[in-house]
Symmetry: C2
Subunit: 338 residues, 2 copies
């Protein structure tokens, strides 16, 4: 079965996704019977499109971003278009996350769905800002939407909640959903460092971005737990409904006190059912050695579901890097069409 894929965003993750489509094309056809054809890539200045499939050998040698798409357009005459064009079976959305307006992802996703395309989203912005609208559009148009890449990527979260726990009642979800902050807290624990020192180390090692506010303020974790709660616990929350506390104010003293009690400080994102509804929050918390999240160290992530019939079920790990995010999107694509 041929499936024509349009990718939006050709940054770090988008390019890795194109690489996976190229290197695994035959393997995916053999294992799942799906022939994935990348027909278009959308950038900020236009898009490249070829009905019979882009030449990935050429594309992957071009630069990242819109410069690369224009470069491709020069090498493949007529492939570069100045306006967007939605045709194909599936959109894979990987533009930068924008939590103010959700754009450009929001318009791109809506346009694709209106043309009857399924969507696999890696970026979080459109879903975080406009969850109900995006879901309604998918349902109105009869298309499907998956977004593992937006909910901790290679760490299975939505999959487990939706499939592995089907039929049970999820009473709470607690997760360490951001690798950068977990790395910083781990280094503060292990190396008796201050927050600033550990952040500096994370930047030097390429783990924290130069603008790390999105991670350390807890917003990235909040986006993920918001999507998990809305998807798995029936809420319709937006970021303003979440009590968010980042790790900026965690001190060496806090860490020392926790260590004395054989506890660790982790940035925990949680969604817990109580009698009034579901309470969602993000905050640094002391957790004990017996907690399934205790062993989540470095850039690792983890999630624990508390259920009525299956007890506690946790998932840990999953590569926190662009390949892991691209692989999570590929997984969603395969699960849509297998």
């Amino acid at each position: 079965m041929i499936r024509k894929v349009v990718l939006s965003g050709y940054g770090n993750v988008g390019k890795r996704f194109a690489e996976l489509l190229h290197s695994r094309k035959q393997d995916i056809l053999n294992r799942y019977g799906i022939d994935l054809l990348l027909t278009g890539v959308i950038g900020s200045r236009g898009m490249i499109y070829e009905e019979k499939g882009l030449d990935l050998g050429i594309l992957l040698n071009c630069k990242m971003g819109s410069d690369g798409l224009e470069e491709y357009g020069e090498l493949r005459m007529g492939a570069f278009l100045n306006k967007l064009f939605f045709k194909g079976d599936l959109l894979v959305e990987s533009t930068p996350t924008n939590i103010e307006t959700g754009e450009p992802a929001l318009s791109i996703m809506i346009s694709a769905m209106e043309e009857g395309m399924d969507v696999v989203s890696i970026s979080k912005g459109a879903l975080v800002t406009n969850f109900a609208r995006v879901m309604k559009c998918a349902s109105d148009r009869g298309v499907r939407l998956k977004y593992s890449g937006a909910t901790a990527a290679a760490l299975p979260t939505i999959d487990i909640g939706e499939f592995s726990l089907a039929g049970s009642d999820i009473k709470s979800i607690r997760g360490i959903l951001n690798g950068t902050t977990n790395f910083i807290l781990t280094r503060m624990m292990e190396g008796s460092m201050s927050f600033e020192e550990a952040l500096q180390e994370a930047k030097e090692r390429g783990i924290a971005e130069s603008n790390s506010h999105f991670d350390i303020s807890g917003i990235d974790s909040s986006c993920k737990i918001l999507l998990l709660s809305n998807s798995l616990m029936g809420t319709e929350l937006s970021l303003k409904d979440i009590d968010i506390k980042g790790i900026e104010n965690v001190t060496k003293e806090d860490i020392g006190k926790a260590k004395l009690n054989n506890r660790a400080i982790k940035l925990v994102a949680s969604a817990e059912k109580n009698q009034e509804g579901v309470v969602v929050k993000v905050s640094p918390m002391e957790i004990s050695e017996s907690d399934l999240l205790y062993g989540v160290i470095g850039t690792n992530k983890g999630i624990v579901f508390d259920t009525d019939t299956m007890g506690q079920v946790a998932a840990l790990g999953g590569a926190s890097n662009p390949v892991g995010a691209a692989a999570a999107a590929l997984k969603d694509v395969i699960n849509l069409y297998r």
Copy 2:
């Protein structure tokens, strides 16, 4: 959508499954649109069957096992049949696991598939002894087969390998797949007990059965890793291909030595790809604190997949009890028809 279910085996797990069907009927209909109707239960001396659905209020008040089915037959005239009868959409198989012949599960499953029924198996015997035959029968008859209940039940294992890691290459699977042996080893670690003392405690607490050979010899773990390897790594192994070592010979001294090095002894079941193929084995092993399986204590279970694109992905927990096993089967049923 109505789905007619026949259950084989009315022991501890089978009865819990019937209870879940009863208590969650409306919830499953609301959430997934599936109306599950239990029309038959097969026991060792015959079966009960009612085309319009058994009266679960009556059935759940009957004893477990064939005595209970006969009791039901007395209360509902004509419901007890002396011979087996396969009609419906789905068989849920929960007879006791027999790793010598796979019977009676094997004949029951084959008969159901030949009548066009899908199968959800909780028991391991038929699959462990006759994996290729059962798979071929399902494929020939165009029916589907799921068996989460046979591969660590409430701990997601097959689900993760099949769906959450779709498109990636699984290089190895390592798991603590048996709660009883993990409880015994945990008690030996924590309480400086001998194997015999910890086994005794497990029996007193109802964690180990009176005949615990199946668990402590490593056979139960072997059955599970065998099914995982055959399902996820393309092998066609049977038990004789697995190098199996149980925990009977783990001494206090072994445990002491491991503890000195901040390591723990766990019964690890593994399937690892190498250049010649896949090596599957079960053995007590020392594992380090940084291992994602290190924190799996007591009756908990855990599994770690090592992949090329998603790094290490682990699942931990999942209730190790009859309700957890029944809930795992219910999950499979829902995922077949949602």
